[in-house]
């Protein structure tokens, strides 16, 4: 598995009337061929901004790169011109947006929207274009493609629209698909359909997916590797089992504790994370989570913790891992025995 995307020390900020918002503050990660990487975090933690940086969709200005590099198959994305970027965006890197209701063009037929990325490149004639579009519609599970081809977005339901969005993301045969909360606005039964579709397609086409969500359930179901973001930083990263069963950051642990699952007993109290996320206009000097952390020590408020390597793929940004810190067992999910599950 080769690396196809490498992000190093990425910082992205926005100029606003209120000052500079430091949305992403030094994020490193890479994406290997054929894997699903999940980015999880609350609203305002910088997960969407990070994703949009990868295809340069953040408006610049007011946004600007403070630092860092994004290498896609060895080429630098940050310094690309608009023209060069257009060759990558949508073709090499597909993007599925959160809200299918507003991200499709209401005045264009479905088929035309799917074909659009080719039109500019003059790659196919009209007939070939239509064939391509019908093929991709079939691939995403839209059965009567011929009819749908000529329909407008308002004639489709939410789940159907999201399938069309996926079709648009896939049609250029990308090596990475970035899915920004692809199922947040859908119902549970439709969500299950769309997630299954995404996973099937990923296996079939061997694309990589960067899946952004705030739902740990979606992460558990889909991802190989997980990045947990908080206050513009990646606070913990690891394989999906590390994150759920061997949690090493208080924030991840808090997130897991605050969701009601089917196993939660009625008289059991949920353990919410008290307080609210930090203000990114003037982010705290220390750990961004310190103010809400029940294990916070003095050092947490003063200095940013380094990233501690715990295992091959598992790192955490927390002072608790320092050799002088007290050893604390963070609560995490208990792994059920295999026989219980079957």
């Amino acid at each position: 598995m080769g690396k196809i995307l490498e992000v190093k020390d990425l910082s992205f900020s926005f100029c606003t009337y209120g000052g500079i918002v430091k949305a992403v503050r030094g994020v490193d990660f890479d994406v290997n061929e054929g894997e699903i990487v999940g980015i999880v975090g609350e609203s305002g933690c910088g997960k969407s901004v990070t994703a949009q940086c990868l295809v340069r969709l953040n408006p610049e200005p007011p946004g600007f790169f403070e630092n860092g590099s994004i290498q896609y198959k060895g080429t630098e994305i940050i310094t690309m011109t608009d023209k060069e970027m257009r060759k990558i965006r949508g073709v090499e890197i597909g993007f599925i947006f959160q809200d299918p209701m507003t991200s499709l063009n209401p005045t264009m037929k479905i088929g035309k929207q799917i074909e659009e990325i080719f039109v500019q490149r003059n790659m196919y004639n009209k007939k070939e274009l239509k064939e391509k579009a019908l093929e991709i519609l079939k691939l995403v599970g839209i059965s009567d493609g011929e009819r749908r081809y000529n329909q407008y977005p308002h004639e489709l339901s939410g789940g159907m629209k999201q399938r069309v969005m996926i079709a648009i993301a896939l049609v250029g045969n990308p090596s990475i698909i970035i899915a920004d909360e692809p199922t947040t606005s859908l119902d549970v039964t439709i969500e299950a359909q769309i997630l299954d579709l995404l996973r099937d397609l990923q296996k079939k086409l061997n694309t990589s997916i960067i899946l952004i969500t705030h739902d740990l359930g979606v992460i558990a179901k889909m991802c190989d590797r997980v990045l947990v973001m908080y206050g513009g930083k990646i606070v913990e990263r690891g394989m999906v089992d590390d994150i759920f069963y061997n949690t090493k950051h208080p924030y991840t642990s808090g997130l897991l504790g605050s969701i009601a699952s089917l196993e939660t007993e009625k008289d059991e109290e949920l353990e919410p994370i008290e307080g609210t996320p930090p203000d990114l206009f003037s982010p705290p000097a220390g750990c961004p989570f310190a103010a809400r952390c029940e294990y916070a020590m003095e050092i947490c408020y003063q200095a940013m913790p380094p990233e501690y390597q715990l295992a091959d793929n598992h790192t955490t940004m927390c002072w608790l891992q320092h050799e002088y810190a007290k050893a604390i067992d963070l609560p995490c999910k208990k792994k059920l025995k295999n026989e219980v599950m079957q």
Partner: protein, 321 residues
């Protein structure tokens, strides 16, 4: 609950249609009946468009139903003669809305928002009002300094708290919570859920909790009602429903929950539903779920299945059982 207790709210054959034009009727809620007893939490679940919010809104008289009645303590809430009776009901039932961003008037301060209802229902001096608002804000985890601020100065979780304080301001007995946490972040959801639970215990409130998140509903409810396209398909005690779902839709809905546990999530047997929810405009007079149901027979496409009892509050509407 061995003695026949009178329900606090009794919904009888409630229907709400919206006439779109001469030919099209949107049947949002059709022939829905259920009881809510004092002090309990009833969860109402279903996918978008299944009529759960419309039902909730009928209960607080935001909508007038097309057919059917709602009895509050044995009295029809739509049969009111004068203003006093109307005010009396409004005082006892309140609603918490889904979207904390659009349900607070941006031009009113928190004090005005929370105090508006109090001023309407009782004569109270400014000083007492201030004190009352302060205790309310304290109960929901805000403080006195927040009184003179406007909604835009608060985060989503705080706004939802203001919404809850507003609902509590007139000392209601019954509160309809219409997806109170779905617009909030995960870590904030738990804060609000815990608070609702605590308030219920302290004040003996009765909740109708509308949500699409089945795990949350299981956590907070005593009884659960599952709706599909305007009709109740199954209702039961919460434990019973999750342990022993009978209706095929409930089964599918339960198996579709994304569990925050990789082992369960990746190995769980799922019942995948094909297709999408059909439109509630001019629905056919048959089982609404027939189109997506795996074991639908011809009878399902011919008549509406009645709600049959399977003991102990467990009721299911399905021909095939």
């Amino acid at each position: 609950m061995t003695v026949e207790k009178q329900p606090l709210i009794r919904v009888q054959n409630l229907s709400k249609y919206f006439q779109l034009n001469k030919k099209e009727t949107l049947k949002a809620v059709e022939d829905v009946s259920f009881d809510i007893y004092e002090g309990e939490t009833v969860g109402l679940v279903g996918e978008s468009g299944c009529g759960k919010s419309t039902t909730g809104r009928c209960l607080v008289k935001l909508y007038d139903p097309t057919k059917g009645t709602v009895l509050y303590n044995g009295k029809d809430i739509f049969d009111v003669k004068n203003k006093e009776e109307k005010l009396e009901y409004c005082k006892n039932t309140q609603m918490i809305f889904q979207n904390p961003y659009s349900s607070l008037n941006p031009r009113m301060t928190v004090k005005d928002i929370v105090g508006e209802g109090i001023k309407l229902h009782e004569k109270i001096s400014d000083r007492e009002l201030d004190e009352k608002i302060e205790t309310l804000l304290k109960a929901v985890g805000l403080n006195r300094d927040h009184m003179s601020r406007f909604p835009h100065e608060f985060s989503g979780g705080q706004r939802q708290r203001i919404g809850i304080a507003r609902a509590l301001s007139v000392n209601p007995k019954f509160i309809v919570c219409d997806e109170p946490i779905s617009a909030l972040d995960v870590s904030i959801q738990a804060q609000v859920l815990n608070m609702l639970k605590k308030l219920q215990k302290d004040r003996g409130l009765t909740f109708l909790f509308i949500a699409h998140d089945l795990s949350v509903v299981k956590y907070i409810s005593d009884k659960v009602i599952v709706m599909y396209l305007g009709m109740i398909v199954e209702q039961a005690d919460a434990e019973e429903l999750y342990r022993n779902p009978i209706h095929p839709y409930t089964k599918a809905l339960l198996s579709a929950i994304p569990e925050a546990d990789p082992n369960i999530a990746k190995n769980k047997q799922r019942i995948m539903l094909k297709g999408e929810i059909p439109s509630p405009i001019n629905p056919q007079e048959c089982c609404r779920f027939a189109e997506r149901c795996a074991n639908a027979k011809s009878i399902c496409r011919e008549s509406i299945p009645p709600l049959k009892s399977y003991g102990n509050f467990h009721k299911v509407a399905c021909h095939m059982i």
